[in-house]
């Protein structure tokens, strides 16, 4: 017992490091002056240490705390993504003017981010239904507060309240589903669930209800259609740094959780290679259901995005659509599909954060998030606008950017598994998405600005961050072997 815990702690350093960072932020808040970004740098240091500790875990494939969580290549992959995302969010926060009135509460802000990060770290690794729920709530509650962080802004408060309402209901439903699952299998760890299900259960209908309920909870977190109604308001209301964080990190964590949960607990270990052939699910056409949800997300997300004028809102709908593309890989759920998802989220991270970052830079200078106000910006801030163009065409899926590689693999997974109609819908909706992404580009370059022509000047630091995001988007577009090797290597889950 004690030995197991001691051993487990050895594999738990990254999480411990986050907790230490959290504490360090609180202490720093008590000791330091509050009018500058010192705390941000402390937090950044903490993240760096955590990142290094995560890298130490490469190659480990074990279960910790009596099957509570797994430390395996799969978890490490997603932890790397989460760390990179958090790192950029801190950099964004340092540059954000929106947070300036709240500088004295910066410790609170980072504390919540740390809490959210810890929750997400547990989400990608947890193998126990109870821990899954705890991690899920830990992430959610931190993000509710973060969404309302700029509480003097009305929209922020509104978004936060909506988020809580939706979140509370859907996690309640998910908890109910989990309790049903535990009830019929008498196991709390997903390996036990798998064993019990493989041995056969008497009333599969309860299992199906449980699964649907769990999908509701996770679907809420990923903002899948029809559980997406919170997303646009929350994304629009929240400070842009947090919007960017929600659109990448919490989504990625929930996707990782979903993959692990489904693959480990519902899939017959022998049927990994066979598409959609899961004995446990006999009678439930689950992948048709998911394919339908993916198609809905792609169609609804892209069509609604067409009408948006607020860039954050537009990116919110676009991220709903991207969740649909990601779900395509999940419909397939072969190793190929999962690899495609991993490649997608990894590359999506950079392009989506990039688009949010440029939007934030403009919002700093122009105090507007309206796409109509971007007219003529291409001549006032050429470099930023060219970067924005690259991020947006990457989101569309144009070569030679990383977005193309992401789309290539996810489309490929669908086609190789025979989901041609789904791939076709994805193709058509990609064309639709071009329309709203390119509208931003058009406004930036095809119009003269209304009377104002003095250039927008950004400091060197802002440009460095821009390039940190731009280089991966371009580099992985032409040379993507490393990321594919990384994703393939990281497919390995504990117990599979």
């Amino acid at each position: 017992m004690v030995e197991n815990i001691l051993n487990s702690i050895g594999h738990f350093y990254p999480e411990i490091s986050i907790v230490v960072t959290l504490c360090a932020v609180i202490i720093a808040d008590l000791l330091l002056k509050r009018e500058n970004h010192t705390i941000s740098w402390i937090f950044l240091a903490g993240l760096t240490v955590t990142g290094l500790l995560v890298l130490q875990q490469t190659g480990i494939n074990s279960s910790i705390f009596h099957d509570m969580a797994a430390v395996d290549p799969f978890a490490v992959f997603f932890k790397v993504i989460l760390i990179i995302a958090s790192f950029f969010i801190v950099l964004f926060s340092i540059k954000s003017r929106e947070l300036d009135p709240y500088l004295s509460r910066l410790a609170e802000y980072y504390m919540l981010i740390a809490g959210m990060l810890l929750g997400m770290f547990l989400m990608v690794g947890s193998t126990n239904l109870l821990l899954i729920y705890l991690a899920f709530e830990m992430t959610s509650i931190s993000s509710y507060v973060l969404a309302g962080f700029t509480k003097r802004a009305l929209k922020s408060a509104e978004g936060s309240v909506k988020y809580i309402m939706y979140g509370a209901v859907s996690s309640g439903i998910m908890l109910y589903g989990i309790s049903l699952l535990i009830g019929i299998t008498s196991a709390t760890d997903i390996y036990g669930v798998n064993a019990a299900l493989a041995a056969g259960i008497e009333q599969p209908i309860i299992l199906y209800i449980a699964i649907l309920m769990i999908i509701v909870g996770i679907g809420f977190k990923i903002a899948l259609v029809p559980f997406h109604f919170w997303a646009p308001d929350v994304y629009e209301g929240a400070p842009i740094t947090i919007t960017a964080y929600l659109s990448v990190a919490s989504k990625v964590a929930a996707i990782a959780l979903m993959i692990r949960l489904f693959k480990v607990s519902f899939m017959d270990a022998g049927s990994v290679q066979i598409i959609g052939d899961w004995p446990i699910f006999e009678g439930l056409n689950w992948n048709m259901l998911l394919a339908f949800m993916a198609a809905m997300a792609m169609i609804a997300g892209n069509l609604t995005a067409l009408k948006q004028d607020n860039i954050k809102r537009m990116l919110a709908y676009s991220s709903i659509a991207h969740a649909g593309y990601i779900l395509m890989g999940f419909v397939v759920l072969t190793d190929e599909g999962i690899t495609a998802i991993m490649i997608y989220v990894f590359l999506y991270l950079f392009m989506n954060l990039g688009a949010f970052y440029v939007a934030m830079l403009f919002s700093n200078k122009l105090s507007t998030e309206s796409i109509e106000k971007y007219k003529g910006l291409g001549y006032r801030a050429p470099m930023e606008c060219i970067a924005m163009t690259i991020f947006l065409i990457a989101l569309t899926g144009f070569p030679p950017t990383a977005g193309f590689v992401a789309k290539l693999y996810i489309f490929g997974a669908a086609i190789s598994a025979g989901w041609i109609w789904l791939a076709l819908i994805a193709g058509v909706t990609t064309v639709i998405s071009l329309f709203y992404y390119i509208r931003v580009v058009r406004n930036m370059f095809f119009f003269k600005s209304d009377g104002i022509s003095e250039p927008l000047v950004f400091d060197a630091g802002s440009k460095v961050i821009l390039f940190l995001l731009l280089i991966p988007v371009l580099l992985f577009g032409v040379y993507f072997t490393p990321i594919i090797e990384f994703a393939r290597y990281s497919l390995k889950m504990f117990g599979m």
């Binding site: 190929e336 144009f398 489309f411 041609i420 193709g427 390119i438 594919i484 393939r488």
Partner: protein, 528 residues
């Protein structure tokens, strides 16, 4: 055949030297407009020289098409290789370039038209730096498509062209430029997505076995896709004459038909042409449209010979409609540019009709027509550009009697127009004749109807000449200056080619004859 410079193959040079130009242009300050223009001219000039070297060293007897060993100037390197994994086998994307009789003329055409486009861009004064950077990027994309032998590479170059074109029309274009730019972009992007899906389906269906190691390797190599033996049993595109193969053929065809543009996918073209600045119209009509027919010949025909034979009548009928409908539309126009745009639809229809015949004559005629049409429309758009520069008008009824005011200009214009009309002794005649001869063998009635298009063409061209160049000129245009030396530089090489290929087309036909005969044979044998 291999040619190298500093250890880098000639095809890499010809494709990527514009990128070097882009970097230099971006480093130059905006004020040094002439330096920027000179860089662009130098870079495209080097391309012309390289194309000349290729022309000189090209072995006319080698077949190419599906035989890797008879491609010329080949460069093949590993690009993306993912080691074997149990469920998919090894993955391979290669940097694979080479040319054969099918692509060599297109490479020469691209180099030439790009250079002439730079010359005619000289008086563009708005954001010169951005203009030439995008222009050169576009040139890289076009050239890349013509030399790629790996589908992945082909696709990347294909899509790389879209964005520069979008900006070039959208920023430097006419009053309705936004509309034209987004229309062009959306149309071609739809095609691109269809091609992407087919590319992926092909990728999962095609695997070859490495004889040395015994590994099964999935590949984007176009030549491997042409070999029926490489299709994995049970995969989606396996077999002959299956529904999925027809669907894939159609998807590819729609992509290329949008680019050609073939009726009913042609509506983006008049808008794009009218709004685009002159040099971009030249590029668009001179090179971009050829990518569509080239794609059919390079990808659709040899990879899906079954679909090609099954749908040959569809192609012929659409070609016929384009010929007639394009010609009638052209006759109805008052705008000089729109007239040429619709005449392009009509003339590209002849290409499609010729290649759909699936015999050597038709194909030679079609490919030669691609080249000739590139030269002729370039001349015609330059002709419009000259008059538009001077008067800011291009309505056919705005002018008259220009023959008296601008004699040299009129001479050039009339040669170009007679070539478009298909006058014997000029290059258009030869290729149209071959195309129709080939088509007549395969589809008699369709060809007979199509040939009436020539008469309509003659009607609208003669009428145009009459309206613009003959009669009495309006008073305000009595003092228009004739062609300048720079404009002559753009026109002369094209005119020489028009006349030379009109009286002696053999050098061009020799280049492609053996490759195209091989392609015809390949389709006839169902890919074997």
């Amino acid at each position: 055949m291999e040619l190298q410079l500093f250890g880098i193959g000639i095809l890499t040079w010809i494709v990527f030297i514009p990128i070097v130009g882009v970097i230099i242009v971006l480093l130059l300050p905006e004020e040094k407009q002439n330096a920027i223009r000179s860089v662009a001219a130098a870079v495209t000039g080097i391309q012309v020289i390289l194309a000349g070297i290729i022309f000189k060293n090209f072995d006319r007897s080698m077949l190419g098409i599906n035989d890797a060993s008879s491609f010329q100037f080949v460069e093949q390197f590993k690009w993306i290789t993912v080691e074997a994994v149990p469920w998919v086998g090894k993955i391979e994307i290669t940097y694979f370039m080479g040319i054969d009789g099918l692509s060599v003329l297109m490479v020469i055409l691209t180099a030439l038209i790009s250079f002439i486009g730079v010359i005619s861009s000289w008086n563009i004064g708005k954001m010169v730096k951005g203009y030439f950077a995008l222009y050169l990027l576009l040139v890289t994309g076009m050239m890349g498509v013509f030399v790629s032998l790996d589908f992945f590479l082909f696709f990347i170059f294909w899509e790389v062209m879209l964005l520069p074109m979008y900006f070039l029309i959208g920023i430097w274009g006419g009053p309705r430029r936004e509309y034209a730019a987004i229309k062009f972009f959306l149309y071609t992007f739809v095609g691109g997505i269809l091609m992407l899906l087919v590319m992926l389906a092909l990728y999962f269906s095609v695997a070859y076995t490495n004889t040395a190691t015994g590994e099964t390797i999935h590949t984007f190599n176009i030549l491997h896709m042409m070999n029926p033996a490489n299709y994995v049993e049970g995969s989606i595109l396996y077999g002959v004459d299956t529904t999925w193969r027809y669907v894939a053929w159609l998807a590819l065809f729609i992509n290329f038909a949008i680019k050609i543009p073939l009726f009913p996918f042609h509506t983006w073209l008049p808008d794009a042409h009218v709004e685009a600045p002159t040099p971009i119209s030249v590029i668009l009509a001179g090179v971009l449209l050829k990518l569509g027919t080239y794609g059919l010949l390079r990808l659709s025909f040899p990879i899906f010979p079954d679909g090609t034979i099954y749908f040959m009548y569809l192609m012929a009928v659409l070609g016929m409609i384009s010929i007639i409908y394009g010609a009638f539309c052209a006759m109805a126009q008052d705008d000089f540019k729109k007239l040429i745009a619709y005449s392009s639809v009509s003339h590209m229809g002849i290409v499609v009709l010729g290649i759909a015949a699936l015999n050597t004559q038709g194909m030679v005629g079609g490919v030669l027509q691609m080249f000739n049409h590139g030269i002729i429309t370039a001349v015609l758009f330059l002709v419009v550009g000259v008059i538009y520069d001077r008067t800011k008008k291009r309505g056919l009824n705005d002018f008259g009697g220009l023959a008296n005011v601008m004699p040299r200009y009129t001479g050039v214009a009339i040669v170009g127009m007679f070539a478009a009309l298909g006058l014997p002794g000029l290059n258009g005649f030869v290729s149209e004749l071959f195309s129709f001869l080939g088509a007549f063998d395969s589809f008699r009635w369709i060809t007979i109807i199509s040939v009436t298009g020539i008469i309509i063409t003659a009607a609208y061209i003669l009428w145009t000449i009459q309206r613009v160049f003959l009669g009495k000129s309006p008073d305000e245009y009595l003092n228009l200056p004739d062609l300048t030396a720079r404009e002559m530089v753009a026109f002369v090489p094209l005119l020489i080619l028009i006349i030379l290929l009109g009286v002696y087309p053999a050098p061009a036909i020799e280049l492609m004859n053996s490759s195209l005969s091989h392609l015809v044979e390949l389709i006839g044998n169902g890919g074997n």
